[in-house]
């Protein structure tokens, strides 16, 4: 376990530097809330420099001094905008880069272009409508946000879903993890100019999505996992669909291995680029494959199991260098691990109900509506008013393809959440960009953004 060593004198100095006021240039649009832009190097206080150079990660006194001396004069550097509509910024991420020649000195991610107030919207929707909203956050792995939301609501309701629902949820989320990582393979390839990899990645992802579509009816934004269970039972022939994918993927992943891992250009582009250490990851709150790429062995599925992950066998893959290549390789290996879990779900899938038979939460079966007035009223009530959730607050976290995905809900006893907050892994992981990019080449910036695998829908919510 990591122990932070810090001398209080250095810390105090850094804090002093950080809070030091400084004059802002006139060309920055000043508002009551302050400017978001990266200010030019000449006018920022040394504190901000230190922050972006990683002072927050406890520079030793020597390093702090060096960082201060490293200041370059304004006319040697330039600040450029990358994005918000750059093809490889994965959506609308804007980066302000300060360059000296081709070297990135500082970087500031500016987000919010996709902000649609989903947390506010969540306060206006009932608990049953909630998943339709949260599923749109991480659009590459929508089932995970639905799962986090549903688990939190179930915790507040104090109900337990049937065994079969648990295993269906596991099967579906692992399938989703496969499709999400395949998407990463595709975009990562595209960002680095490996266009054939992009096509392969999309091709395989399409197959995974086809299975999700067979089960949920939609390719994405499924609204499949709901409080109380899942929306529908697995369709007839679902086993064939899973097996087809499990048979198809291994040779194709082997192809990736030949195409990418053993290719010198690919390795040159990724190895040693954007390295981060476990200490830095922990300090910055970074989770998921990024944290594991540093060799830190932490996976919520194994270490704080939810659903039935304590009943399946799988390995937690860790890297050793924390660079872009490790992050890529871990995701590739995680596809294999997810396939292991999916295979075990196939074997162990229990019979039974796919949703809880609790009249408070679950609408009556469709057939009952035709014959019973009470059932019709009940059905109507659940879908218009929604069910009431007892007062309280809870936080539940799961391991999404990008890291720890948590949902915090405060209930005031009504049928809508009083406050619904989603802890989005991409949002937190994005904080590491300035650190990853410092001192690297601008051409590597693209590789680094890509290796963080941010989904901007989730970042901005």
């Amino acid at each position: 376990m990591v122990v932070f060593r810090c001398s209080s004198r250095v810390l105090r100095r850094i804090v002093d530097l950080m809070t030091a006021t400084h004059e802002l240039p006139t060309n920055v649009n000043q508002t009551s809330e302050g400017a978001q832009e990266l200010t030019s190097a000449g006018v920022v206080a040394a504190g901000e420099r230190l922050r972006e150079l990683g002072a927050v990660l406890r520079l030793s006194e020597n390093d702090a001094l060096l960082a201060e001396r490293e200041q370059v004069s304004d006319d040697e550097t330039m600040i450029i905008n990358m994005g918000p509509q750059h093809p490889s910024t994965h959506g609308v991420l804007r980066l302000m880069l300060e360059l000296q020649g081709e070297t990135v000195l500082r970087c500031k991610p500016i987000i919010g272009y996709l902000h649609t107030g989903m947390e506010r919207t969540g306060e206006e929707l009932t608990y049953l409508q909630g998943p339709t909203n949260v599923t749109r956050m991480d659009y590459a792995a929508p089932l995970f946000t639905e799962l986090a939301f549903s688990l939190t609501v179930e915790k507040l309701l104090d109900i337990e879903v049937p065994e079969r629902a648990i295993w269906i949820r596991m099967l579906m989320t692992e399938m989703n993890r496969i499709s999400s990582h395949l998407l990463f393979m595709a975009t990562n390839g595209m960002d680095l100019g490996a266009v054939s990899m992009m096509l392969y990645g999309w091709r395989e992802r399409e197959e995974a999505l086809r299975f999700l579509q067979e089960v949920t009816g939609l390719r994405m934004n499924h609204n499949y996992i709901r409080p109380g269970g899942v929306a529908a039972d697995l369709p007839d022939g679902w086993r064939d669909g899973v097996l087809r994918l499990l048979d198809m993927l291994p040779p194709r992943l082997a192809e990736y291995d030949t195409l990418m891992n053993q290719q010198p250009i690919w390795r040159e582009r990724l190895q040693g680029v954007g390295a981060i250490s476990a200490e830095e990851c922990l300090a910055l709150g970074v989770t998921g494959p990024m944290l594991r790429s540093t060799g830190y062995d932490w996976d919520l599925r194994r270490d704080m199991p939810y659903l039935a992950f304590d009943q399946v066998e799988f390995d937690v893959v860790v890297g050793s260098y924390g660079d872009c290549f490790d992050r890529y390789a871990i995701r590739l290996a995680e596809i294999h691990e997810s396939m292991k879990i999916v295979r075990q779900c196939l074997e162990k899938m229990p019979k039974g109900d796919y949703r809880i038979q609790d009249k408070k939460v679950t609408p009556p079966p469709r057939a009952r509506i035709d014959e019973s007035m009470e059932a019709l009223i009940h059905h109507f009530k659940i879908f218009t008013e929604g069910f009431k959730v007892p007062e309280g607050e809870a936080y539940v976290a799961i391991e999404s393809p990008r890291g720890e995905l948590g949902c915090y809900i405060v209930s005031d006893g009504s049928s809508k959440p009083y406050r619904m907050h989603v802890r989005a892994p991409s949002f937190v992981n994005l904080q590491s960009l300035p650190h990853l990019m410092h001192g690297s080449l601008v051409a590597d910036a693209v590789a680094i953004i890509s290796s963080v695998d941010p989904i901007l829908g989730e970042v901005d919510r």
Binding site: M1, V2, F4, L11, V15, M18, T19, N29, T31, E33, G34, A35, Q36, G47, E48, R51, V56, L57, I111, G112, H115, G117, E119, R120, E124, K155, L156, D158, L282, A283, L284, G285, V286, T287, W298, D303, M304, E391, G392, E393, A394, Y395, A397, E404, G406, Y408, V410, D412, Y418, R419, H421, R423, F427, V428, L430, Q431, D460, R461
Partner: protein, 176 residues
């Protein structure tokens, strides 16, 4: 951590006599999750203690506006205030989580930043500032993060009016 583990098996003993504490802070349980209720003054000191105890990583920090829900359950001695900042910390070694709920009065919505200890709180505190207008004292770059920088108001406050897009011809008289 030891006193928590020891009490896990006997949670049904009423704790009305002496409120439970952990790290010298009032402790409650919400659905088996441990929640600490530090005051604003205790907050910064508690974070130092927690980090030394192995809570190395900040997982989440968000705000809640309790404008219309002052009757919520809090341990005795904690006065409910309008805002709450909720911090989630994780201890990887003991596989434990802790949640901190800090009451922030409306008249003076200020809380010391956790940035010096947990660098990861940077974006989260900015988001809480953006959405609730809670100021984090000592934060190096407290600007709006999700909303445009010239935005007025803090959208997740309960008294923030949900915006409407004006619809053309909406006020015009109908044909009939």
């Amino acid at each position: 951590m030891t006193d928590v583990d020891a009490q896990d098996g006997e949670v049904d003993i009423p704790t009305e006599i002496a409120p439970e504490t952990l790290f010298g802070t009032l402790l409650t349980r919400s659905h088996e999750q441990l929640v600490l209720h530090p005051t604003r003054e205790e907050y910064a000191g508690l974070l130092v203690t927690l980090q030394a105890d192995g809570y190395h990583s900040i997982i989440d920090l968000c705000g809640v506006d309790y404008l219309t829900n002052f009757s919520r359950e809090l341990p005795p001695g904690i006065t409910p205030e309008r805002f709450e900042v909720v911090v989630n910390l994780i201890n990887h070694r003991e596989h434990a989580r802790l949640r901190l709920r800090v009451q922030i009065p409306e008249s003076d919505p200020v809380l010391p930043t956790a940035f010096g200890l947990y660098a990861g709180s940077e974006a989260m505190e900015r988001e809480t500032f953006d959405m609730f207008g809670i100021v984090f004292d000592g934060h190096p770059d407290l600007t709006r993060i999700l909303m445009p920088e010239d935005w007025i108001g803090h959208p997740l406050r309960k008294d923030y009016d949900i915006g409407r897009i004006p619809v053309q011809f909406k006020g015009a008289p109908a044909n009939r």
